[in-house]
């Protein structure tokens, strides 16, 4: 009865089907096929990526849990652990921006509190097409509103992230959501189904027909019929999730349960089979007991539904009543729907009949892994084009144009729609190089950042991967934090295209190299393939989520100037590199390579210098030149200073002016400090083997830059600020 058309509908190949038949020893029925189609989808099985992901360094002194669970866990000292993870919700957000993004937030929050951690921060990496296109504006408006509605309501602050604009995202926006939670080390929970005969409880929202095949949808390209997929997107209920969060944390805190798994992608199917597979047990459930909000649902629909705000819990029999009472207190159902068995099988009953009976191992662990063909694309734009345009005659105007480029422009329009202060831990507000959180009652603080430059990755995926990690570490260094754990979201096109597979492998190589250099363990992540619409792939977009520790949260410094008269010092040195720059892209619409060179050894020494300077209270501000280069970095430090302080900068480098001002050379940090602290900073830099040079002074109300005595930029900070702050709101006021 299962024919090729049904297989195609389920995104399974004939070979995969034959393997299923072999594994279960017979033809599967439709419900069983549906289960395999979800669990063997790219989204759930990582079948194209997992052999490469194994290369990441995942071990480290402080790693409590690496990849393979709902989230990674890092020991942050004392009795506490940081639990964090990033996930993509790209496909749903294109189909239905508001709910797609909102449920992305809901999903990542569940990944975190499933482990016993209270979510304390959200960050998002968002990529949209150019804002001139009303369709892109409406996607962005919907995504931001969706994130805002879910995060604000549940009361987890959205404290940072990044927003990029590029045409490659016009028909395929990226929404990557990161969440950080805090857990007591003694109270961490895993997705386990242990104790034969233990009851299995269904908690949270009722099951409906929403989101059926969400995971398979995220594992295929989009054609022109995406409108029809709208019913595949679920609808979020942050209020229900807030209740679920409090109730789950309460039963975990009281030690009433033994295992828990959220029902995210692949819903009941994934949670039941994974919990059993991880414990080497089996599970039997009765679908008639599953709370349902629609009538006449088939076993296929119940097993495949991706209704939100649901969890599966295993507890000891004697605690069942207490668990139910806690959920009742929060006005939630906790319904026993089955029990843990020793069979190693997932057995599902429906109206008295056994409708599923398959080994959990086959569903969870035996999906084939593919080493798909990969090929370096012939048209790799690796070399710098010799015919660069001449350096612009008015650098000030060019700087203003860059400040108005949406990728560089101020993102307050986005961040003020997010509650970034609830929970009262946000020590550095959005806009800083990294977000900083205090932990109530502790001296240490946590810093978090999301980074990734897809233009670099498109020009040279390996460098793009390397720089993503390095820049994230640099952002932490700018606030004084050292990196302790990394999660990543790897957004790519269709992995069945050899060029895409090549990009993927290269990015992983680059990231791995950088992670090893910085000794940062990768504790998990997410791969999002099939980011293609109508045959066009997005630029390869690795997004790095990095968590760091500050020994003293009170030492964190902002990126804006603090005091008139302070010296401005460059740690590292300027270089003549224009490849992959936002300057050439936004001003000339050119994207030549190669991306900037990166010396990992030098990069680390720059970070160490900055961190030590902050820990010793030497410097008032730190900010790194990234998109837009040195000039944008200096402009931002001025515009972010509370009283809009300007600076006077004298540059001596013999580098063509546009490369000096707007090139994106790596391994540089601009700091400001009191003059009498300079000798100590210089000693520190020397000891770390890096260059440190005084390039000017915080002064006046204008940004003034001279190159070997000749003035090349003079702009009032207020004017720059109007352009920079106004760019995104203006784009949205276009009728």
């Amino acid at each position: 009865m299962i024919d090729r058309r049904i297989l195609a509908d389920h995104n399974l190949t004939v070979e995969e089907y034959d393997l299923i038949v072999k594994l279960i020893g017979r033809e599967p029925n439709l419900t069983e096929l549906g289960i395999f189609s979800l669990m063997w989808s790219e989204h759930c099985s990582y079948k194209s990526s997992r052999i490469y992901l194994r290369n990441f360094p995942t071990e480290g002194e402080f790693v409590i849990q690496g990849p393979g669970e709902n989230a990674g866990i890092i020991d942050i000292g004392g009795d506490l652990a940081a639990v964090f993870k990033i996930e993509s919700h790209n496909h749903p957000s294109y189909i239905e921006p508001f709910q797609g993004a909102a449920t992305g937030v809901g999903g990542i929050l569940r990944d975190i509190f499933t482990m016993g951690a209270r979510p304390i921060a959200l960050l998002d990496s968002l990529r949209f097409g150019p804002l001139e296109d009303p369709k892109n504006r409406s996607i962005m408006e919907g995504v931001v509103a969706g994130i805002s509605s879910y995060g604000n309501s549940i009361g987890v602050p959205t404290i940072g992230g990044e927003v990029y604009f590029h045409d490659s995202y016009s028909r395929n926006p990226l929404v990557n959501v990161f969440c950080l939670g805090l857990a007591e080390k003694k109270k961490i929970f895993y997705a386990r189904a242990e104790g034969i005969g233990s009851p299995v409880l269904y908690v949270g929202s009722k099951t409906g027909r929403d989101g059926i095949h969400g995971a398979t949808m995220a594992s295929a390209e989009f054609g022109s019929e995406t409108e029809k997929k709208r019913p595949n997107v679920q609808v979020g209920d942050p209020f229900k999730e807030k209740l679920l969060l409090e109730a789950c944390l309460e039963v975990m805190d009281r030690g009433l349960i033994t295992g828990i798994q959220d029902m995210g992608a692949a819903g009941l199917t994934c949670s039941t089979s994974e919990m059993a597979a991880k414990s080497g047990t089996g599970m039997t459930i009765d679908l008639d007991l599953v709370p349902q909000r629609e009538e006449g649902m088939s076993p296929y629909e119940i097993m495949l539904s991706e209704s939100q705000e649901r969890m599966l819990i295993v507890c000891r029999k004697e605690n069942l009543e207490d668990v139910r009472q806690v959920f009742a207190k929060w006005d939630l159902d906790a319904v026993p729907i089955g029990e843990v068995t020793a069979s190693g099988r997932l057995e599902v009953r429906f109206k008295g009949e056994r409708v599923v009976d398959i080994p959990v191992d086959a569903i969870v662990n035996l999906c084939p892994a593919y080493r798909r063909p990969s090929k370096k694309p012939p048209a790799m734009r690796k070399r710098c084009k010799p015919d660069l345009p001449p350096s612009p005659s008015d650098s000030g105007d060019t700087l203003l144009a860059l400040l108005a480029s949406p990728t560089i422009a101020d993102k307050t329009w986005v961040f003020r729609q997010y509650d970034h202060m609830v929970q009262t831990n946000t020590a550095l507000l959005p806009g800083a190089d990294a977000a900083v959180l205090r932990i109530k009652g502790k001296k240490i603080g946590l810093a978090v950042t999301l980074d990734g430059n897809s233009l670099y990755a498109s020009l040279d995926p390996r460098s793009g991967g390397k720089i993503a990690v390095a820049e994230a570490c640099r952002n932490l260094a700018c606030v004084g934090a050292r990196p302790v754990g990394l999660t990543n979201c790897l957004n790519f096109g269709n992995p069945e295209k050899p060029e895409v597979m090549w990009q993927f492998k290269e990015v992983i190589k680059g990231m791995t190299e950088a992670c090893r250099a910085f000794s940062v363990p990768v504790t998990g992540g997410n791969v999002s393939f099939y980011n293609d619409t109508e045959g066009l792939s997005i630029y390869p977009t690795p997004v790095v989520g990095l968590v760091g520790i500050l020994e003293d949260v009170g030492s964190a410094i902002p990126s804006g100037w603090k005091k008139n008269g302070d010296l401005v010092v460059l740690l590292g040195k300027n270089s003549a590199e224009l490849g992959g720059s936002e300057y050439l892209r936004s001003v000339y619409n050119l994207e030549p390579g190669p991306p900037p060179n990166l010396d990992l050894e030098l990069e680390q020494r720059v970070h160490r210098t900055c961190r030590e300077a902050i820990a010793r209270g030497l410097i008032h501000s730190a900010h790194d030149p990234s998109e837009g280069g040195l000039a944008v970095c200096l402009a931002e430090s001025s515009m972010l200073s509370p009283s809009l302080l300007g600076c006077e900068i004298d540059l001596e480098d013999e580098i063509r002016t546009d490369a000096l001002l707007f090139g994106e050379g790596q391994s540089r940090i601009i700091v400001s400090l009191e003059e009498n602290k300079l000798p100590v900073l210089l000693r520190l830099a020397r000891r770390n083997g890096i260059k440190a040079k005084t390039i000017g002074r915080v002064a006046g109300r204008s940004l003034i830059i001279r190159k070997r005595g000749r003035e090349i930029v003079r702009l009032p900070v207020k004017r720059m600020s109007e352009v920079w702050r106004g760019a995104i709101p203006r784009a949205f006021s276009i009728p």
Binding site: A145, S148, S149, N152, S153, I154, G155, D237, P238, F239, K240, K242, L243, W330, D331, F415, R416, Q417, Y418, D419, H420, M421, V422, Q423, T424, T426, A427, L429, R438, K440, G441, V553, G554
Partner: protein
Amino acid sequence: MRFGVVVFPGSNCDQDTFFVLRDVLAQETTYLWHKDKDLKDVDCVILPGGFSYGDYLRSGAIAKFSPLMPLVREFARKGGLVLGICNGFQVLLEMGLLPGAMIRNKNLKFLCQYVHLRVENTATPFTCRAKKDRILRIPIAHFDGNYYASPRDLRGLEKRGQIAFRYVDECGRATEEANVNGSLHNIAGIINRNGNVLGMMPHPERASEAILGSEDGRVIFESVISYLSRSRGKG
């Protein structure tokens, strides 16, 4: 002296407010669960911020029917101090303990940012420690904070000095630009006629510690503490 922080399902600033009162200001503080049958002898009830019952209907509209609310109403009638912050203010409006209503912010977006407030009336239990016209830097975080009241109610509020705080610029001027959410008369907080029930949209609990960037919100809690200890002294 004892503070009670009400917890509705969906409250999300309850723990922040509790932390400031108990850990920063060293006050005896207790949670009041929305299904509780008594107010645990507290001297001041605080309705915290958040999204009570999800606020899928009008903000605060469902919380009004919560089992604890008749007790809070009775407590207020007898002169007990009630402070509603953000969603708590919206609940007080829905209950009719304060006049007026909230509509969507004028830009139709959620707004989370620091604002400046001018203290308009210092003769209240919630502001007695502040100097008249003092400018406070405190954050807001709301979707529905655009205060509306009938012309008659507004006249009454103005005449009787019931306006506790107004949105102003850094220099203390009540300009249109400073009025980020579009509230009538730049109103950020009001008090009832008896002076024992205050509602305010800004979050003083988010501005009570230096590490968070402002301590201006403390004056509200410190005023209550000082008022209660004085009245206790008299009693």
